[in-house]
Symmetry: C2
Subunit: 254 residues, 2 copies
DNA sequence: CGTAAATTTGATGGTTTTCAAGCCATGTGG
DNA sequence: CCACATGGCTTGAAAACCATCAAATTTACG
């Protein structure tokens, strides 16, 4: 079940703060929601974080339909969110890396609309939905981060909506992962998730993702070693992915 | 340009009210944003409507990037909204029928993110963005309609995001049009838009839409006469379209 | 009535999926 | 330590599906 080993894995805020020095010294604070906040506000933010949860790869964070009282901020690792259709087929909706927030839907809804599972060993911070909501109304900088986060989700959801070729999708995915994981210059990009999840997310067959990767490798655009990928010609990938990002002049509902 | 013949085509609110008896007697009031309001509130709503615009088929209502001071409520006809990508290719984002509202983005943004063009002869009501925003904060029923309208847009946008077969897309489209246009029992469904716009909206080739329609006709699911379509076996279509609607347990961002 | 546009049908080709098999790493039990 | 099973990844061959090109037919409209 979801919270297997919960009690053992959660460090109370005090212990965590003691162990890590609090949010001010969190290694992923720059990417975190709290990133744009001042020192004082960051401390206040730290009091919202009621604990840190360690999740082994494959473990469930929460399930669709469960009451949503908590928003999670990813501190390390990778969480995938997905839905299940009527036939029980998985449908990956997104990957959440360090600094990403999961469960923002919870701000306006009572239940999680998706399942959330750790794809790699991960750490996530608990944040009370109600306290976050309250704090956000008092802190414009935080509210801006929340809105940014939501509109970013929407944009990336819409960018997958178009009919793009397999190469365009994979190229865009690799570039996005590269910018989000930001490996040190010269170091390879290590993808936290497997080919099957990537393919599902991009709405492609697993084999197609493989083939596109080998095609890119043969073209000299990158080097593949299992889940480690070295981008050799990011410009070529960017050219391929272009139409995926330029497509939406502004965030577009209708 | 957008407002060609604007001055001639707009009836001032007073004249319109005189001609039609006001929003209380508008033929599409049940589908309108004002639909859920009480008599008194509907009258107040009527004062927000500053005019009615007649648009011939093919005429532009507004262009992407234009300052968004007005929200439009479709009274009759059909307006399509679309974006243009870098190469100038059109991309249909939605069709707006009687009762739909166009430009709700304008509630939070300064400019229209999309182009809006009448696909068939249409009538649209002008509503001031600022007055609508003000009125909505005072009228919970109206605010609910606004949120419903937005979440409906989001859901339909996401339902197109999936990778579905041409038959699934066309079936879902026809069912949606059938329920929104609600032809009298036994009467055919008259589509306001052409095959090209349908195909573009569904991310298919025009020819594919044609072929699917003839395939449906040969299967006995419907009868096609130009833009008039009679659904003979809605259940068969519903079965095909199922995965498109059941896919999202709840409105899902992430 | 005639021209342009929209719709339909046919033939062809390309991209992706599907089915099938092999490879490789990891882990387990003997 | 090895045999073996497992699951993820990769590659190959065939088929499905849809887009594209081309042309016939119909419809719309000045």
């Amino acid at each position: 079940m979801a919270y297997e080993g919960f009690a053992c894995d959660v460090l109370p805020a005090a212990a965590r703060s003691c162990a890590t020095g609090g949010c001010q010294h969190c290694p992923s604070r720059r990417h975190c929601l709290a990133g744009g906040l001042g020192t004082e506000e960051t401390q206040r933010w730290g009091t919202l974080v009621s604990g840190v949860l360690n999740l082994a790869g494959g473990k469930t964070l929460f399930e669709a339909g469960a009451p949503a009282q908590t928003v999670y901020s990813v501190r390390a690792g990778c969480i995938k969110t997905f839905t299940l259709d009527a036939e029980g087929n998985e449908r990956v909706r997104g990957f959440h890396l360090a600094g990403d927030v999961i469960g923002l839907d919870a701000l306006t809804q009572e239940r999680y609309p998706m399942h959330a599972v750790a794809v790699a060993p991960s750490q996530v911070c608990h944040v009370s939905r109600d306290e976050l909501r309250q704090f956000a109304t008092l802190t414009p900088a935080l509210m801006n981060r929340l809105v940014d986060s939501l509109s970013h989700s929407l944009r990336s959801a819409l960018s997958l909506a178009g009919d793009h070729s397999a190469e365009q999708r994979v190229a865009a995915f690799l570039l996005q992962m590269h910018s989000r994981l930001a490996p040190l210059p010269g170091r390879p990009l290590r993808l936290p998730m497997g080919r099957r999840d990537i393919a599902n997310y991009l709405r492609l067959a697993t084999e197609t993702v493989c083939r596109v990767l080998t095609r890119f490798e043969q073209a000299g655009h990158l080097a593949v070693h299992d889940r480690e990928i070295t981008l050799r010609a990011p410009a070529a990938l960017r050219e391929l992915a272009q139409s995926l990002s330029l497509e939406t002049p502004a965030a577009a509902l209708h």
